[in-house]
Amino acid sequence: MPADALRALVAEDQALLRVGLVRILEISGIRVTAAVQTAAELEEALTDEQLDIAIVDVRLPPTFTTEGLAAVVHARTVRPGLPVLVLSQFVEPLYARELLAAGRGAVGYLLKDRVVDIDGFVAAVHQVAGGGTVLDPEVVAGLVSARPLHRLTERERQVLTLMAEGRSNTAIAARLFVTEKAVDKHINNIFIKLDLPPTADDNRRVLAVVAWLNA
């Protein structure tokens, strides 16, 4: 493993999933510095200043509610911008809102199902560690479908959804089989129609969209 490999913390109480996660990360060249099972252990492990990313299950012992979420939200008040990727059997827009409340990037919120797509998952880990924002398509879909987006065309809506999931223009273009230039045009239209200030930075773009969706 290279010396500059990402240093990751894994918090997951179910042994099978913890072992699987660690295996996937290590195969993908990410060093797992700690793999913990409980909220108390997680809080302790989050104080590691060398940490590049914390990959945390929402639900942990002892109460099996949202200890994981609370622990990372707290850790980010101590160390703002600490990259955290929260995994869960369920995604809840309410929790996404809490994670994003601090207004900084370096946040991911994904269903555990997404880990099955190993390349996609590892890409998300790198994106979050690099300060990006990655939201599960299910959260985004829930938010987008709830808002009256009559003003947007079908294509613009697709672009908006992918944008809120944290994808770059290149990735959106590849996904929709269009040119990056076309994507640029769509994004500009979306920003104009939704009265959002245009911005080049992917992360700020996601946050702007999410803030608008949550409004």
């Binding site: 639900r59 369920f90 809840e92 309410l94 929790y95 938010l143 709830a146 009256p148």
Partner: protein
Amino acid sequence: MASQQAPRVGDTGAYAAAPDPAGTSPLATRLRLTALSAGHVGAGVGALALAVIMLSAFPALFGVAGFLILWLTVPLAGLLAGYHRRTAARELGLPVGAHYLDVAGGNPITALATWVRDPARWRDFAFCWYSGTGGLILSLVPVLFLVGPAVHMILGVVFGSWLWFTIAAVAYGPSLVAWWFVAVPLTRARLRADRGILDHSLVYTLEQRVEQVEQSRSATVDHNEAELRRIERDLHDGAQARIAAAGMNMGLAEKLVHSDPDAATELLREARDTTVNALEDLRTLVRGIHPPVLADRGLVGGVEALAIPIPIPVTVALPLPRLPAPIESAVYFAVAECLANVAKHAYASRAWVTGSHDGTTLRVTIGDDGLGGADPRGTGLSGIARRLAPFDGTVTVISPADGGTEIRLEVPCRLTR
């Protein structure tokens, strides 16, 4: 507006306990109550006669005479008991309910059969005996304490002799003092005893309540049974089938991994997608049983989460403590149903969920500024009533045809933690 109200035990209704209007002098009160007792003495004599006649009707039931006697005396006993019920209710400020079984629409024979089965009629019969015996003595005491001296006073006036006055003063001074002290408690004791014998409300209310609880229990059991069947079917057709398919694909891939690696890769990818679908199935199922956000955050967080995907602005103001889980769950699903209705049918521009808990009752209101005219008997709203029924919860729908809807949920619930 429709409301489903459960009768409550110990409900005193509109009766106000105010036996004596303010400003009545103690003497007037005592004189009035003594007069009342005198009336009871008179009624007691009649009641005793009635009771004896009714008793005599039973051996006579083999002939026509018994029937005739009962047709005459049972309603008479009812009238007499009715007078005592009204008096006791008025003086004590408490409800004294008759709750006779309904005999309307039947012939005299069925009426008689109904009377015989009616516990309230047997109460009347028992009351007649009591009224002519123990009750009579109870009512007689205050009357005698007063009548004795009064008679001697009258004799004194009639014969113009101081002797009678002296006897009245000396012998009956203590009697008057006793009257002063016993007139109120004895009369009230008599009234309470009358209520004890004649009041069928408690039994009646309890009977109604038991019936209601039986109904809601059986509805709950049916509902749970149907839910379990649905869950079993969903698991069988969804997650179970998908996991089995994924297992088969993986087994096949294992066989092909050396001979046809491309096919094996394709099978594994399919297996992976299938497990993701199985997880989606399970998630949907679990959300329908007990949504995780409700378990995590309680009713307040649950309702906030419900409000997010509603396409119109929803204001949530629920300053609530954590409540017992079954109640939180029932109210959560009730609110979910209401908000879904708002999104589907109301054409509203905004909605709100407000609530409070005063220590004994949880109140939640779901409102919108939409079309109005919601039907309280619709499947959605009656489903909510059924969900809340096991907790004695009620649903009130206020949805005028000219717009706006408010659905008020009320669930009695004490804090246990």
